[in-house]
């Protein structure tokens, strides 16, 4: 119990420290949610590192707490600033709270103790391996590749770090982690607009995420896809905010973009797309690029090291070039992807279709100048292209994975659509 309290205290303290060191010129609400998430990521990452190096987890937490205390002694004003909140309750906050509880109620009624199939077959079983301080390396054994042991470890590490400190593998922890991820998606969406009139649009976004039972049911499965959706959403939001956030915003963008690599394999593709777009749009501004590189360095380089030296080979890379070419030239595969995509967009995620349609309608030729939209569009095309060349049975792969890939993009597309609407009618709303 004491260990768990120390871990929670450490996560809270580092959220405050990050806010102090990295806090960009964003609203208090956005900074709070961003740095709380970043603090959890830091602890998850250190947990993986300490497990790999064989250092006791309690020792690491104790060291973190001592460093935090030293930081607060040196920067006493930080604590005062943290408690200097704007306590005024606005109508928007009341509506947000009401919407959140509607969403959380749907989440709760769709939760299952051990999660759905992939939760106990992949993600929570990875967490169970990580829970073991010595025997965890068996997860990377070739005999475990059927359990997708090549997947990045950050998502299961969050459950495992609590399990290790509690000395119990209670199924409540992964459930609470999923619950907090869903809550964080709502918070990030709400804090994406800071102006009073922008809050109306933010509430529309929160509404879309708190009444869509399909979306909420999928976030309650305890799969990593909701975490991917959260970090896509944050990265897309930061892409919008880089203009007004100062130099720190590029560092933050680099950090959050690189976290995607550590969540799921498609996150790595997303990270590459974001980085390519950031580079292309900032060719004349080397300073911004350097800040971006500075932000992504640690997580990206450690991820590459993990891929090269530790992780087993992915089963989806087993295709020969001849087979890939054959699949690319096979029209039937395109038809199958199209049919499945259209049926999902119509029946489960119509807002994705509507969002793209509204954005094209409002932006016209300026569509390709909207950086976050370009990122999402390329990611969407990359997902579809991936299915064309998948070595697995295509129909089975589409039936089991495509809806989850759309779930990953869903909150980001809502945010982008609302931002396009906001910018378009800014002079009327502001």
């Amino acid at each position: 119990m004491i260990g768990t309290i120390l871990l929670v205290v450490s996560i809270t303290l580092y959220a405050v420290i990050f806010n102090n060191v990295l806090g960009a010129r964003y609203s208090t609400a956005l900074n709070t949610i961003l740095f709380s998430i970043l603090s959890v990521v830091l602890h998850g990452f250190l947990f993986i590192l300490s497990t790999y190096l064989g250092i006791g987890w309690l020792t690491v937490i104790s060291a973190l707490l001592i460093m935090a205390i030293v930081f607060f002694i040196i920067n006493r004003h930080t604590i005062k600033d943290f408690f200097r909140f704007d306590y005024k309750v606005s109508y928007a906050q009341i509506v947000f709270a009401f919407m959140s509880f509607c969403g959380l109620h749907i989440f709760e009624t769709n939760s299952i103790k051990y999660g759905r199939w992939d939760a106990y077959a992949i993600w929570n079983v990875h967490a169970k391996f990580l829970y073991e301080p010595v025997l965890w390396e068996r997860l990377l054994d070739e005999r475990m590749t059927w359990g997708h042991s090549d997947y990045p470890l950050l998502f299961p590490s969050v459950s495992a770090m609590f399990w290790r400190i509690m000395e119990s593998t209670s199924p409540v922890i992964p459930l609470i982690v999923s619950f907090l991820i869903y809550l964080s998606i709502l918070f990030v969406m709400y804090s994406s607009f800071s102006t009073q009139k922008g809050k109306i649009l933010a509430l529309v976004g929160v509404g879309c995420l708190s009444v869509n039972a399909d979306f909420i049911t999928k976030t309650a499965t305890q799969y990593a896809d909701s975490a991917v959706a959260l970090f896509y959403l944050i990265t897309i939001l930061l892409l919008y905010k880089v203009k007004d956030g100062g130099k720190k915003s590029y560092v933050l963008l680099g950090i959050f973009a690189s976290i995607n690599c550590w969540i799921k394999n498609e996150g790595f593709v997303f990270f590459l797309i974001v980085s390519a777009v950031v580079f292309l749009y900032n060719l004349k501004n080397i300073k911004n690029l350097l800040f971006y590189l500075y932000g992504l360095a640690i997580l990206f380089l450690t991820h590459i090291s993990y891929r090269v030296f530790l992780s087993p080979k992915n089963d989806l890379t087993s295709h020969s070039y001849d087979k890939i070419l054959e699949d690319i030239l096979n029209i039937t595969r395109y038809e199958m992807v199209y049919d499945k995509l259209i049926s999902l967009l119509y029946f489960e995620f119509p807002l994705i279709l509507i969002g793209f349609f509204i954005s094209i309608l409002l932006l016209g030729k300026r569509f390709f100048k909207e950086l976050p939209l370009v990122v999402l569009l390329i990611t969407f095309v990359a997902y579809c292209a991936f299915f064309i060349i998948t070595p697995l049975n295509l129909q089975w792969h589409l039936d089991t994975a495509l809806d989850r890939l759309l779930l990953q993009l869903y909150p980001s597309i809502i945010l982008v659509t609302l931002t396009v609407v906001y910018h378009q009618f800014q002079h009327k709303l502001a």
Binding site: E108, T109, R138, L139
Partner: protein, 126 residues
């Protein structure tokens, strides 16, 4: 002022509690996993030092139960079917035949645990 934050924390804790309360509701899958966990609890100490085990279940849904068994038995690596490991864990359920790769005469029974839906038998290679 502080009351607002306290109210928020209390509501959040209530949400956690309602989730905790909700997951205690039994579904077919949770009953299955709970029973496997209960069943193998007494068998685990006998497998100390082992890193892998063959897993066999005489159920038409063997493939699915294999994942639950892996979840429960991690960090032990659970092989599906008889793969020549020193130990084999058999889950008996109903009257379906066992995997054809398994030869009873090659093994001796170490321990048997009987639960409501399944019987758990730990076998050691002779």
């Amino acid at each position: 002022m502080i009351a607002k934050r306290l109210i928020f924390i209390i509501i959040l804790l209530l949400c956690f509690y309602s989730i905790y309360d909700h997951i205690e509701e039994e579904t077919e899958k949770t009953v299955q996993i709970d029973e496997i966990e209960k069943g193998v609890k007494d068998l685990r100490p006998l497998l100390k030092g082992e890193d892998k085990i063959s897993f066999l279940a005489n159920s038409p849904e063997e493939r699915k139960i294999h994942f639950e068994a892996q979840y429960i038995l991690a960090p032990l690596i659970v092989h599906r079917g008889n793969q020549g490991d020193k130990y084999a864990l058999i889950i008996e359920n109903f009257n379906y035949p066992l995997d054809s790769t398994f030869r009873m005469e090659e093994f001796k029974e170490v321990k048997r645990v009987e639960e409501k839906r399944f019987n758990f038998i730990l076998m050691e290679r002779k």
